[in-house]
Symmetry: C2
Subunit: 246 residues, 2 copies
């Protein structure tokens, strides 16, 4: 590529990313694999920008999960975060963005090159681009870019991993199965003032489906619904396992 | 603790942290271990704030390393970051800050409690406090707090892990050993324009100590010095091993 082609290439990439760089050498570095500059890799390849971008993406993703899923436990948040910032998901985002044609890599000098290498390069370069935007444009622009490109994956992933509305979900399941609505009853109440505790049970007719204990009736009900859903799921697995072996 | 004592406690903690919270329930939550609120832990304990703070600390630490050590490789940066955000170092920072007396934990209900639990609680709560400051005060205040409390550890750690000035260090070593200065010579030059490569050797008198190859004479010299230092270190290890067995 000659100098004019490189400039055209960076211009096309900027318009794809919706970011105009002050210092385009940062953008160029973000798309340069070290195979293209073995002797000056520390300064000219994307490795350290990728390292920076990885940490920045994690912080934005975790903050977004924290703000949008205030009822999720730390375990649920960790599950969503790990999935969203996984190589697999970042590769998909990078591929969908169309980063691959912009990446400078000396394929002939790589030991192997296949579809996985392509995915891996796209994940690397997506991270490096976030690092470059952060350094060149500041925190807010990097967050905007992450919001546009990566946050949509959080919603996809968290639908599996976080159960934000167990009572609603249980109601749907029970209604479909029996035509009845689940009912909640306080089974026990203990403590006073700041250390009150409620034991709540959820029932279908007279059958107890699950219980939960918490300092508010509402939270105890949520926990009971969650337990009920888990038990129903186990039952289903068990009966479908029986079906298969029958 | 009664309500007035809790308020006094939070005021003292705010002055220790040099941060005044808009929403003090966040600060209270940041110092509350889930053993104190088993039934409402998701909302009242520090677990999710700790998860958030951990990601935010990492991002600030990585950015600081990136900006202050532009010549470090990704491997060197990773080594420094891992050490700085390790449980051990964060526990030390939390202990030195004096966080422990502020932590609300139901020790009687923990399975074990010893010095390690104390360290672990201090690391947790330091992270949670960063998360709380980030949510309550915004990015900049969280970064300021991390700058005051955690960045000083980066300098301590990186002195071991990153060799920012191999030529300076080699000069000192050679001068001490022989009274001479190391000298650099270009041994080979190849390529043209953008793909030039220089092979540089570093010598003590006529003895070759190390070589380095890069697209600039300066970088090739740094690499040669680094190689020389590594070889000298190996030699020293070898001879001191001989000393011990002698």
């Amino acid at each position: 590529m000659n100098d004019a082609e490189i400039v055209d290439n960076l211009t096309a990439l900027e318009s794809l990313l919706q970011v105009t760089f002050h210092d385009r050498t940062l953008l160029r570095r973000a798309i340069t694999h070290h195979s293209c500059c073995p002797d000056t890799a520390v300064h000219d390849s994307y490795d350290t920008l990728e390292f920076l971008g990885d940490a920045i993406i994690s912080a934005h993703v975790v903050e977004y999960i924290y703000r949008t899923h205030p009822d999720a436990s730390e375990g649920e948040m960790t599950a969503v975060k790990s999935e969203v910032v996984s190589r697999r998901v970042l590769a998909r985002v990078g591929q969908q963005l169309g980063l691959f044609p912009f990446i400078c890599v000396d394929i002939a000098n790589l030991r192997t090159f296949n579809e996985r290498s392509r995915d891996s390069l796209c994940a690397d370069v997506l991270e490096a681009i976030v690092g470059a935007i952060h350094i060149d444009q500041g925190t807010e622009h990097a967050r905007d870019f992450v919001t546009r490109t990566i946050f949509p994956m959080i919603e996809l992933v968290s639908n599996h991993a976080i159960d934000t509305n167990p009572k609603g979900r249980l109601q749907k399941v029970i209604l479909q199965r029996t035509g009845n609505l689940p009912r909640y009853r306080v089974l026990e109440q203990s403590g006073r003032h700041n250390d009150r505790a409620f034991l709540v049970g959820v029932f279908e007719q007279e059958q107890l489906l699950g219980t939960g204990k918490a300092s508010s009736i509402k939270e105890a009900g949520r926990l009971a619904a969650r337990e009920a859903l888990q038990l129903l799921q186990k039952k289903d697995k068990h009966s479908s396992a029986n079906d298969t072996t029958a």
